[in-house]
């Protein structure tokens, strides 16, 4: 287990209290049925690992409050919405690089774009 989790320690990565509340809200509403974090979860909604930097806080709050497309209106409390946005901010902070930040070699390896 310690071998498997090596390389997972990053400075400032531990979740704050608000972020932890967001994580609990994620679990309570089973967000994993439709959304992924680090490739873990469903396919109906987009992967939310990098959603915070891609969409911004205001957009995420609006979607969480009113729903959009296939995303239902979940009747979340204000605290839950704040917590979920904070949690997505934490995911974003330790997310792998975005498409525009990497390049592929001809032999199939992914490298950071210089």
């Amino acid at each position: 287990m310690f071998v498997y989790t090596r390389g997972t320690e990053r400075p400032g990565q531990a979740l704050s209290e608000t972020q932890m509340e967001g994580k609990l809200a994620w679990q309570k509403h089973n967000c994993s049925a439709c959304h992924q974090r680090f490739g873990l979860g469903g396919y109906m909604g987009p992967d939310l690992t990098r959603a915070y930097s891609r969409k911004g806080e205001a957009y995420l709050k609006a979607v969480l409050e009113f729903g959009v497309g296939n995303m239902p209106k979940l009747a979340l409390s204000d605290d839950e919405i704040d917590g979920l946005v904070a949690y997505m901010k934490a995911l974003d902070a330790c997310a792998p690089p975005a498409r525009e930040e990497v390049t592929f070699t001809w032999y199939g390896v992914v490298k950071p774009r210089e």
């Binding site: 990565q13 609990l24 974090r37 469903g42 209106k73 330790c94 070699t105």
Partner: protein
């Protein structure tokens, strides 16, 4: 014609688990079609949505595999060890426990009470019930094996390792509740992927062990359970159980070296597994193939699905392709290809052997044959639809097209996948209905042929 000799009557709790497993598979297929319908034609306003149907489908799929393989091991263990089951009463209690808490989990998920994990999304309190269920199985298994004399053939080692491996990996999968893991997103994702991947390794041990035993029985070659090749495969599977999760952690920014080690081991196991079935199929004479035609067909189907999965797995093991496709429907095709194409094919073949092996399976006739081919053709269409959707998604998601827009454009493909899913369900229903109905009407051959 191969003569059969009645040796050990299959106990009623074993048959209960097998019948229950068949029922769970039919429910899994129905909920899978419903989940696909929800996915393709979402209705966010309704009370029972994809948020409910997906976890129910996934949990039942896991229950089909575990419940059935428990029944199969209970059924063949006395014959495999030469000793009666340690406690039939305990096995009966185990069956009742499994049914009671299985229903409780279904009710919890259907009513929207979630624990929030991927795959086993039920409230974590049910983890205790699952551990107790597994403990009951372990007591009966080791109680029976302890009375037998060694050395043990490879399938007994595989069952032992699968049972112990489950305790270990299931314990790991619960680590997400400890703050050291839950408070660190990367660590939590790594541990979740690791534990689920290894758990698949533990159920593969139970399934492959059962298949090895049945292949040996059909072939009538007792020494095959002790062959060097079989034990090499066992150690390969053991290594795989520890490492096969690696290819799913490419998107997790942890240690990279372990991903590549894991993938090489995982692919080697799959390649070796299909080779063993292919060799067995070549050795088997025409009379035995005919006598056990249903088991034989489904085992050989697992071999072909193994080739197809191997090809896809090789492609998605290339880091650049994995980077672009992980989290698209190509990953679903990979999961469905192995869960339905390999595991379910083996289990149906094994169920047919336990229910009809004593009298031979040649009398099962056209219904099983039609159902078999409908299942295979539909599964291929389902698999290709998912791969197609995954490729489209991978290409367009990279160009920042809205996810909802991609799903909308892919609706015809998901519609085709739904039709193919209905075909799989219909095909399997034809086979399972015949297996169970014929057995229920003529329950005499509840015995093991030698």
């Amino acid at each position: 014609m191969v003569r059969s000799r009645q040796t050990t009557r299959v106990t009623w709790p074993a048959l209960g688990f097998v019948y229950l497993g068949v029922g769970i598979l039919i429910a899994t297929l129905a909920l899978g079609c419903l989940a696909m319908f929800h996915f393709a034609f979402a209705s966010p306003g309704s009370r029972f949505t994809f948020q409910h149907s997906r976890p129910l489908h996934v949990s039942l799929a896991v229950a089909w595999i575990f419940g059935t393989v428990i029944g199969l091991v209970y059924a063949v263990l006395p014959s495999a060890t030469g000793r009666p089951l340690f406690s039939k009463r305990l096995a009966g209690f185990h069956l009742a426990w499994f049914v009671f808490f299985g229903l409780a989990i279904v009710v919890a998920l259907a009513s929207g009470s979630f624990g929030g994990r991927e795959y086993w999304a039920f409230p974590p309190i049910f983890a205790i019930a699952i551990l107790v269920s597994w403990l009951l199985f372990a007591i009966n298994f080791f109680g029976t094996v302890r009375r037998g004399k060694g050395p043990y053939p490879v399938y007994v080692w595989m069952w032992m390792t699968g049972i112990l491996g489950f305790f270990f990996t299931y314990g790991e999968s619960l680590l997400w509740m400890i703050p050291h893991f839950s408070g660190n997103p990367i660590r939590e994702a790594t541990v979740q992927w690791k534990s689920y991947g290894s758990m698949v390794g533990s159920w593969n041990m139970l399934i492959y062990g059962t298949q090895f035993y049945i292949m040996k029985q059909i072939e009538g070659e007792q020494a095959s359970g002790f062959s060097k090749k079989a034990f090499f495969f066992y150690f390969l599977s053991l290594t795989n159980m520890m490492f096969n999760w690696g290819h799913h952690t490419y998107p997790v920014p942890g240690s990279v070296w372990i991903d590549h080690v894991a993938y090489v081991i995982s692919l080697t196991e799959l390649a070796f597994f299909v080779k063993i079935i292919a060799d067995w199929s070549k050795r088997l004479d025409a009379a035995r193939k005919h006598r056990h035609n249903t088991s034989y067909r489904f085992f050989v189907a697992a071999e072909w699905w193994g080739y197809l999965n191997l090809a896809l797995a090789l492609l998605i093991s290339i880091p650049a392709i994995n980077w672009m496709t992980h989290g698209t429907h190509i990953t679903v095709a990979h999961a469905m290809g192995s869960t339905i194409g390999i595991n379910t094919m083996i289990l149906i073949g094994a169920v047919s052997y336990v229910l009809h092996g004593g009298a031979g399976q040649e009398h099962l006739g056209w219904q099983v044959s039609k159902g078999f081919w409908l299942t295979q053709v539909s599964l291929l269409a389902f698999f290709l639809s998912l791969v197609g959707a995954g490729v489209y998604n991978a290409v367009h998601e990279q160009s920042e097209v809205q996810h909802t827009m991609i799903l909308f454009q892919l609706k015809p493909v998901f519609g085709a996948a739904l039709v193919a899913g209905l075909g799989i369900a219909a095909g399997m229903f034809l086979v399972l209905a015949k297996l169970v109905w014929t057995h229920a009407r003529h329950p005499i051959p509840q015995t093991e042929p030698v």
